[in-house]
Amino acid sequence: MMRTAETMQRVKDIILIAALTLLIAAVLVLACGASPAEAMQLFIQGIFRNRQSVAEIFVKACPLILTGVGCAVAFQAGFFNIGAEGQFYLGALVGTAVSLSLPLQGPVNILLALVCGFLAGGLLALIAALLKSTFNISEIIVTIMLNYIVINFLGYAVRTFLKDPEGNVPQSAKIDPASQLLPIITSTRFHAGILIAIIAALIMWFLMSRTTIGYELKAVGFNQRAAQVGGISVAKNIIRCAFLSGGLAGIAGVIEVIAIQKKLLEGISASCGYTAVLIALIAGNHPLGALIAALIYATVQVGTGSMQRQLGVPNAIVNILIGAVVLLILGRKLLHLETYGFLKRKKEAK
């Protein structure tokens, strides 16, 4: 009985939060001097215009799935990895360097680039994990500082050792076509990397919910002291989850380079590393939830993209909405009438 009541409450919460989010969106659109009805129409048209626009949802979701699932895994173990942005860029940088410097092109090149990107992102997150587990230094501050360091280093790299010798712009040489991840659905940008992202999310879900590794990670996140007393090493698990989490972000970086941009340049993450944090939070740190949340977010992004082009509604609206959703989830108790004790008392008095 308790369970059904809880589920009902949850469903009610979700509907309320969705309705409030729509309301906020409508207000923001009105603030831009546009009509919400027209905006809604453009929004839906933008998504279902043609097969390219539907494929675009998956293209946009791909890095968000990988980084979002990565954050979810780390958060479940109580490790606040805010460094997906930096891990993404380091993965992209190392992946590009590997892809360009290997004499061999083709599937082996792709595989090596992905593996090295995974290692690079994982090792970067490992720094924060080691500082956290040995010196108890806040991983939030460390990962944020590492983000800025990596982003500046990338700026240096694309102007010096990774710069395309034939061009004058700060970007790397082009990845050999044989070593790119090509589209697998013709006339769209739907590439093989998207499958990698979905498979990674499934693996992480299996790992977290069906294996002892996942059980230990969750135990550490739930109560460090109890886990330690129960013979689960806190340090080992923090290092493990950080490495996985950073590695996934690193792969996201490599895929963005070899599937979409075809070269390394600045700003390619489009802040997906920070969005990933919110996606993981919305998903309640569940890997499959993060997969779904990333897809929904990407859908909204594609829709608002068409709103921006046609109505001039800034697409920063997406950032407000995702922030608002997390705040609404945290503040959901305010949506429950029983929170307002004085109202209840009045009712009883009647």
Partner: protein
């Protein structure tokens, strides 16, 4: 390299360091006060960003610096109140709330700024003037750096001294510390824990808001998207390095100011190192400093733990 070591170089260098440190010190002081009372506000970055945007909007539309400053303060307080509702009233996770606030503030300010700037290019708003304090500003080396500043900077010195006295010498200050260390014991002793946490968080919003506004109203005169670029997080680091005391935080923030001033100086005199590598310096120093301060934790005992009345 000879031009590196002249007196005028050091004077200008120190002045730049103080200038760059002031926003960090404002934010750091606000964060120190909140953390002393047991509430950690990871959302300081968002508080500052809100302060910066609303101060710019206020100053732009009214043409008055005072109105701009008040709008900046209101913007900062808005975010800290949001944090308070979630963390104090609803007892939710403070880290998660802070992260959400940062993202929300980034979206909100970018959105409003785009609405504001549609079709027109922005000129700078007027900035606060500097007043040299007679006598003090003539001290060689440090005079110009510390005593030839704007009114907000002088206010900051006063606040730093007042808050140091507050925590070291007054009963009220000790009560605030008690709230962060042992809220249940504090409540038993008759201290209204939630009221104190709310006050601390409001001060956090005011000072964080001024920190963001300072960038606009004193230093740059313009707003740009995501202009805080990590300063809120560096302020959090300064609080830890400063061992949760106002003056310690001041010294730590000054250190970051020095690192930042150094990289800018090196760029302007044309050292043959990429500006992108030099820009890493302040962030790398933050990391090294955190490492150096490791193990000597001054963290309030109940920091980040929601206090629910009557619970154990």
């Amino acid at each position: 390299m000879s031009q590196l070591f002249t007196l005028s170089f050091f004077t200008a260098f120190l002045a730049a360091a103080v200038r760059l440190a002031v926003p960090l010190i404002y934010a750091g002081l606000g964060e120190t006060i909140a953390e002393k009372a047991g509430v950690i506000n990871i959302g300081m970055e968002g508080v500052m960003l809100d302060g910066a945007f609303f101060s710019f909007a206020g100053a732009w539309y009214s043409g008055s610096l005072a109105v701009g400053l008040l709008c900046g303060i209101a913007g900062g307080v808005l975010m800290s109140v949001l944090h308070g509702v979630i963390c104090i009233v609803l007892a939710q996770d403070q880290t998660v709330s802070g992260l959400a606030i940062n993202m929300f503030a980034l979206g909100l300010t970018s959105f409003l700024f785009k609405l504001m700037s549609q079709g027109q290019s922005y000129q700078q708003v007027e900035t606060f003037e500097t007043y040299a304090i007679p006598g003090l500003s003539k001290i060689p080396l440090i005079g110009a750096a510390f005593f030839e500043k704007d009114i907000l900077c002088y206010l900051l010195y006063i606040l730093l001294i007042l808050f140091t006295i507050f925590y070291k010498r007054t009963d009220l200050g000790l009560s605030h510390i008690a709230v962060g260390e042992a809220p249940h014991a504090a409540e038993s002793a008759g201290i209204p824990v939630h009221l104190f946490q709310w006050t601390a968080l409001l001060v956090n919003g005011v000072l964080g808001g001024i920190g963001g506004a300072y960038l606009v109203l004193v230093q740059l005169g313009v707003f740009t998207e995501n202009m805080i670029s990590g300063r809120g997080y560096i302020a959090l680091a300064a609080v830890i390095l400063g061992r949760h005391m106002p003056l310690g935080m001041f010294a730590a923030a000054l250190l970051f100011g020095l690192a930042n001033a150094l990289q800018i100086r090196l760029q302007t005199i044309g050292v043959s190192v990429s500006p992108y590598l030099l820009a890493i310096l302040p962030y790398a120093m933050t990391l090294l400093a955190m490492l150096g301060a490791a193990g000597r934790s001054s963290r309030p005992e109940s920091l980040g733990k929601p206090y629910v009345r009557g619970s154990r």
